[in-house]
């Protein structure tokens, strides 16, 4: 392998590559924090989108109360990098993971979730120190159809179990709401909060989240905390949901046109290994920035098929930037990202929490 000089501008970067516009990312951090502050809602950004201590620290410096991670491996990377308040909204099960969780609890202010007696049993057998309790929130399925208890009665039963365990403390309720369901989510959580209160169990934290509804988050009558992830980069899906415009999107995939077999078909060197197959329901896989009518309509692993319509033109060798449908999964596919300001490369960062599946 030949030595490759460090790129100074976007034109020097080998493709495909992830480009992060730091000015946009910074503006997105500031905008969301200001909105949360205005509504007296704590912000606890989910690091799944960037997987970088660099941006996690910026989010905390801007006013976030801490961060959210989805796997212990991610939390370990963030703790190692100096992040000190981590929420892990996941059912942690099994000896190996409980041991790792225990170690992490010794390093940072940690909280987790549970939605079953099985999870609570594992946690209470592992955490027994009444002087250093692990905070556990009950996960509630308020319409997303993923994890979470189905009724406030179930929430109460689990909260009592947590409250009764010597090394655990009941921290409140957590949900990941289905996009657009904020009113139903609120109603669900209010009902559960009130039932628990009548049983003598206060919810210190009621944590909701999700970028699609971030600008409606302040309407909540019950949540105390919000956990958006994608807001820092945004993507085509979030633009389709009205969260921002293309000009707010910080992550693009720099790519080269490697083939142009027909007048309306061009092929990029970015396929599903760069953009992922995640469309989040959009009809195509991405669009070419600044080239209206150039859409990524097909992907194989190492090729992206672009369909050209209207005035859109491309040439073999041309370098383009693709705005993907889903930014978070793109971060997980690259070992490093290029931070740029305008066309200047300001840093190249390893995606430290990439691929932390356990």
């Amino acid at each position: 392998m030949t030595d490759v000089p460090t790129p100074r501008t976007i034109h020097d970067i080998e493709t495909p590559a992830v480009i992060i516009d730091v000015d946009r990312a910074d503006a997105n951090i500031v905008r969301a924090q200001a909105d949360a502050d205005k509504h007296r809602l704590k912000l606890r950004p989910h690091i799944k989108t960037h997987k970088l201590p660099h941006f996690a620290k910026k989010q905390v410096a801007a006013g976030a109360v801490g961060i959210t991670c989805q796997k212990i491996g991610e939390a370990e990377v963030m703790a190692e990098a100096g992040l000190s308040d981590i929420f892990l909204p996941y059912n942690i099960l099994g000896r190996a993971k409980l041991d790792r969780l225990f170690a992490l609890h010794g390093q940072v202010t940690l909280s987790v979730t549970a939605d079953s007696l099985d999870t609570i049993a594992g946690l209470s057998a592992t955490f027994t120190d009444t002087g250093h309790r692990l905070k556990v929130l009950v996960e509630c399925d308020t319409g997303m159809g993923r994890c979470g208890v189905q009724t406030s009665t179930e929430a109460l039963a689990l909260a009592r179990q947590i409250d009764g365990a010597s090394g655990l403390s009941f921290g409140g309720l957590m949900t990941y709401p289905a996009p657009g369901l904020s009113r139903e989510t609120d109603a669900w959580l209010i009902d559960a909060r009130d039932l628990l209160k009548s049983a003598g169990l206060d919810c210190e934290t009621i944590s909701s989240g999700g970028t699609p509804d971030i600008w409606r988050a302040g309407d909540t009558k019950v949540a105390t905390e919000y956990r958006p992830g994608t807001y820092i980069y945004l993507d085509r899906y979030q633009v389709a949901k009205g969260v921002g415009t293309n000009d707010d999107c910080a992550l693009t995939v720099l790519s080269t046109v490697v083939s142009h077999p027909t007048p309306t078909r061009a092929i990029l060197d970015a396929g599903s290994k760069a953009l992922s197959s995640d469309t989040l329901g959009l009809p195509d896989f991405g669009e070419l920035v600044g080239i209206p009518g150039a859409l990524v309509t097909g992907l194989s692993e190492e090729h992206g098929n672009v369909t050209l319509s209207g005035e859109a033109r491309l040439a073999i060798g041309q370098r383009v930037r693709v705005l993907p449908d889903h930014a978070c999964v793109v971060s997980n596919l690259f070992d490093m990202v290029h931070l740029v300001s305008g066309e200047t490369v300001v840093d190249i960062l390893p995606v430290a929490a990439r691929g932390r599946v356990t």
Copy 2:
């Protein structure tokens, strides 16, 4: 992070994890090689599926003429590991990549493809040594609708250009056929081969490929070489295409049930970050091995939603093996894979060519 002991059996492995059944992988290698030998077809396996020197060497030891890689970065890893004959069916463009290609050409027996004058211009400007020519095949679009020239006349024009360049040699034709189109593919290639022959250009190699049609590969009247990738592991898509049965599939994702919110919904710790969102057109994302009626019907990044029907039952904490729709993209999501024979872990390998996007 606590020290984790090396797993001795499948029961010791932290989830999610990729499990490769080496006995099945070995049998798949042997079966495909025997079939190719029987039909006097050269086999040149695509390493995209496993991304491991370990299996690339086994494929060559079994009789493959060499390997296929899709990106220079993959080829660099394989060359470094001692693989000596590499076909890179990709349009290589741009100074940085051409320099890397040049370096690689000094290390191994290398061949590439081109489907445009632009690609050939870059190659002929880089490779000028008449004593050590780079072999270039013309890529043909025989129905897949990706890269490739559209007509045999175009193929002839490019072949002449390659043949006329001092440091290049014309190597023949290459296609990636659309699954099931073998007869049309053959007709296309015969037409092009004959046109080139009449112009004095012989095709040393006519390379086709793709696991879906692997057992029909021997029917070709024109191809000299076949480049299957997925055949070594197989997956649900290939089973749906009739290439093998579930019992031939070597790659599964070991996962734990972390939540069971309703009687028919269970949640795994393997989401799109472990299984990918690639369904290749199948209606769901995977099935649970040995548990009929347990299908992965939804994915978010770190959770897999299993829908249970009929007699299918799961319990929180239960460990299951998921057969994914598409094996190749799973390999790209994990830093390491566990090789097992039965339930015994025989090795843990880093996925050396994972994430080599450039």
